[in-house]
Amino acid sequence: MIELKGVGKVYEDGFQALNNIDLAFENGKINVLIGPSGCGKTTTMKLLNRLVDYTDGEILLDGRNLKEIDPIELRRQMGYVIQNIGLFPHMTIYNNVAAVPKLLKWPKEKIKKSVMELLQLVNLDPDTYMNRFPSELSGGQQQRIGVIRALAADSSIILMDEPFSALDPISREQLQDELISLQSEINKTIIFVTHDMDEALKIADQIILMKNGHIIQKDSPNNIIANPADEFVKDFIGKKRLTPKQKLPSLDNFISKSFVSIQSDSSTAEAIKQMTAYKLTNIPVVTQDDMYLGSINLYGALDNQEETIENLVESDTYTIESTTETVEVINELNSINTTIPVVDGNGKLVGTLDPYQLLYEWRVTSEYECGEQ
């Protein structure tokens, strides 16, 4: 856990790069710092490995004051990926990835094992690549090495300074995808600086939007689009991403009518059977005339198989009315990760909504709009 408390940075020439920053980076998440150039996003990141020292406030790393930690030691504990890749041209790929473990004086065997695993993790065959030099690799391959070099010492925190912005669009997309899937395996605390909103929306768990050394908004990607804090945020996100209201198909198009539900007088065993059959974690419960009552949870049902459905049903679940505007639904979606029941004005269950599908659809639409410009 990294916490910034009232952190400020004033350069020797009097330039105030950062002003009273309060911020916590979420553990095991991709935290994206974004903003126009000169906003202080890179400076904020460089405070963390003390390539830049702050002049006000304090930074706590797992409760320890950052300034009490020797900067050299600190940097060896954190992975670091930069925009210009910065592979060492005189070292083989193996030695590049092994650089920090060697500085940390790991035993040879352990280093070797780690390097091999990492190369495989980014789909570069160790036997083919480990003895090559960086100049023999394409830009995308080089930055893959750059990323795994940062992972080599098994640090829990990885700093990434616009790591993909110098790559061609196709490599960039690939590396973003790889980072997302990599992160699902390694669960590092990643602090990622970018100026590219598409990139931020794609990879971030948390977006921190900065301007002139201040944090303007800190939110999940969906929330930042749904509820931009001010005009600046709106401008930065871009009008096209914010006004899919007219363009988006009505909610009806996203509602799945072929949903699975269960009647309140059925047996719990029946509900479990349905959920396992359709691979659901929740199932909506309805009365005989299809009025929505609530839903039951698979694990709740499994734990209490002798109970009746009527006793197990959770009635305070989140529902959506079928007449709602699609864009308003999107605004609400940030914390929902299960299928959402959709009801009509009378409370009758008319379908279910897959939030992932909706978000996907919406993103495709907004990207399409951008492409048309």
Partner: protein, 213 residues
């Protein structure tokens, strides 16, 4: 053909003195090269580390002035301080060789992609570790080519060391001028060129070992 036969005869009769001149030549040159490397490279590295532009300008201007002074004038100018012979020759040629090596090393260090240095810093290399494990190895091809070019020049300049009594192949050429003897002149010239070319090849080989692309 007659010339060639005469040439063979000259070599047979005089080979021991020819080799002695060559040996002297190489000793002077190699001493100067060694001195120049041990002095110029650390100085150039130091210059890349400091912020003061004034010190850099002054250092480069001094080195440039040494390089601008006519060689024989520089050789002559150190006589009042060091007398004649080996020492003043080495001192003068050393001063003469400062600029090319200084300039090459400086350029080599400055040519390092700032991304490499930033990555090394961010990964937790200490200042000394960074210098020896990253910066110098990365700049090495530049530095080696600086050493190569400077060495070739030094071999050539060393011919003039004979003018202040330090010996070497220049003696052979001077004697040749004195006696109007083409054998001596050509022998001195060829050997100087051959030493220069061989050194060029040897350092080139070393350069290849250290190159990484």
């Amino acid at each position: 053909m007659i010339f060639f036969q005469g040439y063979m005869k000259y070599w047979r009769e005089d080979y021991s003195s020819i080799l002695a001149y060559m040996y002297e030549h190489m000793i002077i040159s190699l001493t100067v090269i060694a001195l120049s490397i041990t002095f110029s490279i650390p100085l150039a590295v130091y210059l890349t580390k400091i912020k003061s532009d004034l010190i850099k300008t002054i250092t480069f201007n001094i080195a440039n002035i040494f390089q601008t002074i006519p060689t024989i004038a520089l050789l002559a100018l150190v006589i009042p301080l060091f007398g004649i012979g080996f020492v003043p020759a080495v001192v003068a040629l050393f001063l003469y060789s400062l600029l090319p090596l200084l300039r090459n090393t400086y350029a080599g260090m400055n040519s390092i992609d700032p991304g490499i240095i930033e990555a090394a810093k961010g990964m937790g290399y200490g200042t000394i570790q960074r210098l020896f494990k990253i910066e110098l190895p990365v700049a090495l091809p530049y530095i080696m080519s600086g050493i190569r070019v400077t060495s070739v020049y030094i071999i050539s300049w060393t011919t003039l060391a004979a003018l202040i009594g330090a010996g070497g192949l220049g003696d052979l050429v001077l004697a040749g001028i004195g006696y109007n003897d083409s054998m001596m002149i050509f022998t001195g010239t060829f050997l100087a060129i051959i030493i220069a070319i061989s050194l060029d090849l040897v350092i080139n080989k070393i350069e290849k070992i250290f190159s990484y692309s």
